[in-house]
Amino acid sequence: MENIIEIKNLVKKFGDFTAVNDISINIRKGEIFGLLGPNGAGKSTTINMILGLLSPTSGKIMVNGIDMQKEPEKARNEIGIVTQETVVEPELTGEQNLMIFGRLYHIPAAELKKDIDTALKLADLTDFKDAYAGTYSGGMKRRLETAKSLMHAPEIMLLDEPTTGLDIQNRAKIWDVLRGINRNQNVTILMTTQYLEEADQLCNRIGIIDHGKLIALGTPTELRQKIGAGNMIEVSVDKDDLQKVAAVFKKAGLEPKILTNKVVAAGGSKGTEKITELVKAISASRIAIHNISMHEPTIDDVFLKLTGSEVRDTTGDFQGGRGRMMMGRGR
């Protein structure tokens, strides 16, 4: 399959902090590619380099055959972008928002009107086109922004955490829009996300990055297979008991990982037997089990296995720490 974005040995350093450490990814034409990782993993830095806003310390980015560093303006015309923050101008109407961006993407005046109408229809905002965007709900703004970035019919759509902060309903709506443009207009989508569920459901392929390095790349199924056969077993207990429960897991021949309030392990082929064994042993040690569950491995589990930590949008210790470090570099 043809590669539409080629990222070769991309490195970005801020001072002596390496935000992106030798990443190489080829995005294939027509796929939905998810870039997954915790806060501060280097996702946004990578995206900013693909957009030509940051220049790489070393490495190369080709967008549809155009070298981003040599011809950034030309390369940007190939990309439609939805940024992390919803960017619509609240003091302009929906239609005016689209008009301004249509002009900035150099859509010919003769086609602009038609393109605006199409975009309004796509965003399901035709009835609200004359209302100021400031009066829109969060979901409407997001849809307007998505439609805005599609107006110039780019071959590539780049979304930086498109659904962060949205409720389930609006998230599902955005997914529908993305699937629609991917299928109907054959737009390649590159998105970053912190939501594993999102990546799992939406993406054809996923790249997981952490500490600026690409640590896994493949289809959701391939990545799940990395866990090994069988389901995941989770046991939630009091914090004080986590170590004891982990010891029980080990005795049962499992490889436990201790999280904030639970112990997790891949169950292997005899997961059901193991879980009975675990419950018996834990009860025998007089430890109160808050919750116990078995589920098919998700990307979450892959991430846990690969990095030893959970992906969360809450500020875990290590995430917060790195976040601050990034700020300290004065990005």
Partner: protein, 374 residues
């Protein structure tokens, strides 16, 4: 499309936002000039019944006629003093604004070529101006030669003091002239810079940078918008000033010269604002720095205090301050009534050079887009 097309699109965006907030924009433009003219303008309204002390050593008919003339209007209130010493004491306590000494022999000289001595207290220029004008008018009606001398130099007949504004001129024109320059320069710094910072904060700036436009179009559109907005405010200020009684001595030509100078000041200071805003992330920082720069510049430009009265160590700032030249030109047009072509050319050149330098600086600071990512 190119740079100009992209600039036009972004300028169009600013204008649509401006149109949406029209009422607010007009209100804001009205507020500053109104408050200023009401507060500062009333300082300049000619005071009535200004007390002056008259020492009559002559006691002749000529002296009586002079005193009668002084008393006839209601501009000054004549207080008789028996000795010059007593009168000077009143002056030093600011009880009176001027002392008029009519020397012995004033009548003998026929009241035609005799001198009278006038001492003025410069601490209250408005009252002093009224007193001085009134005494001069009365004396010249009699044909006496008057001379004005400052306190502390009694008896020395010297040239008539050179006031910031002519003794008979319209103070409100003086205030409005300074006000226009102040409104346009403040307006430029605050509107142009603030829109840039709020666009950065809302992510608009990054969104513009991800489009295939020439990134300098962003700067140019902001400079043009700042120029427009500040000019709009100053124009409203000018109309209010004219309605309030300011005059443009140079007439209709002066009106257009005034508009041209105001426009150039707005242009230059919008460019300066964008240079300042090119890297500044926080609104508070910008407001502080902007204030720190524009406040001294507007005061040291002579908008309200004549530059001649400033201490010597400030003179280098006065010289390099583009507002100095703008204020002088505005005063020429509004008060003197004549702006030499050479001055018009030089002031235009100075302001346009300032604009060019600031625009270049903004471009340099904006070149590295990675600094725009918050």
């Amino acid at each position: 499309m190119g740079l100009l097309g992209d600039t036009y699109t972004l300028f169009l965006r600013e204008m649509l936002i401006f149109k949406k907030n029209m009422t607010m924009n007009i209100a804001r433009s009205l507020m500053f000039p109104l408050i200023f003219i009401l507060v500062l303008g009333s300082f300049g309204s000619s005071p009535k019944n200004v007390p002056i002390a008259v020492v009559n050593y002559d006691n002749g008919l000529g002296a009586l006629r002079l005193i009668n003339l002084l008393q006839s209007g209601n501009n000054v209130e004549v207080i008789s003093a028996t000795t010059q010493q007593q009168a000077m004491a009143l002056l030093s306590k600011s009880t009176v604004a001027a002392v008029v000494v009519i020397p012995t022999g004033f009548t003998q000289s026929g009241g035609t070529d005799g001198s009278i001595y006038v001492y003025l207290d410069n601490s209250q220029p408005q009252s002093t101006a009224v007193a001085s004008a009134d005494v001069n008018a009365a004396a010249s009606q009699l044909g006496a030669k008057t001379a004005v001398s400052s306190v502390g130099k009694p008896g020395i007949i010297s040239v008539i003091a050179n006031y910031a504004y002519g003794a008979g001129s319209n103070y409100i024109s003086f205030v409005v002239g300074g006000l226009l320059v102040m409104v346009v320069s403040f307006g430029a710094v605050f509107t142009a810079g603030f829109t840039m910072l709020s666009d950065r904060e809302l992510g608009n700036l990054k969104a513009f940078l991800t489009t295939p436009i020439n990134k300098f179009a962003i700067l140019l559109s902001k400079i043009f918008y700042g120029t427009f907005q500040s000019f709009f405010s100053a124009f409203v200020g000018l109309i209010i000033g004219l309605m309030y009684g300011a005059t443009i001595a140079a007439g209709i030509v002066g009106f257009f010269e005034l508009i041209w100078i105001i426009f150039l000041v707005g242009f230059g200071f919008s460019a300066m604002a964008i240079a300042l805003a090119a890297r500044t992330k926080q609104l508070q920082t910008y407001a502080l720095v902007g204030q720190t720069i524009i406040m001294p510049l507007s005061f040291l430009g002579g908008a309200f205090v004549p530059t001649a009265l400033l201490p010597a160590f400030l003179l280098p700032i006065v010289t390099v301050n583009p507002l100095t030249y703008a204020v002088n030109a505005v005063r020429d047009v509004m008060i003197k009534g004549f702006l030499p072509t050479a001055t018009l050319v030089s002031v235009s050149a100075i302001l346009l050079t300032f604009t060019a330098v600031m625009t270049a600086l903004a471009f340099i600071l904006f070149r590295d887009t990675s600094k725009q990512l918050t």
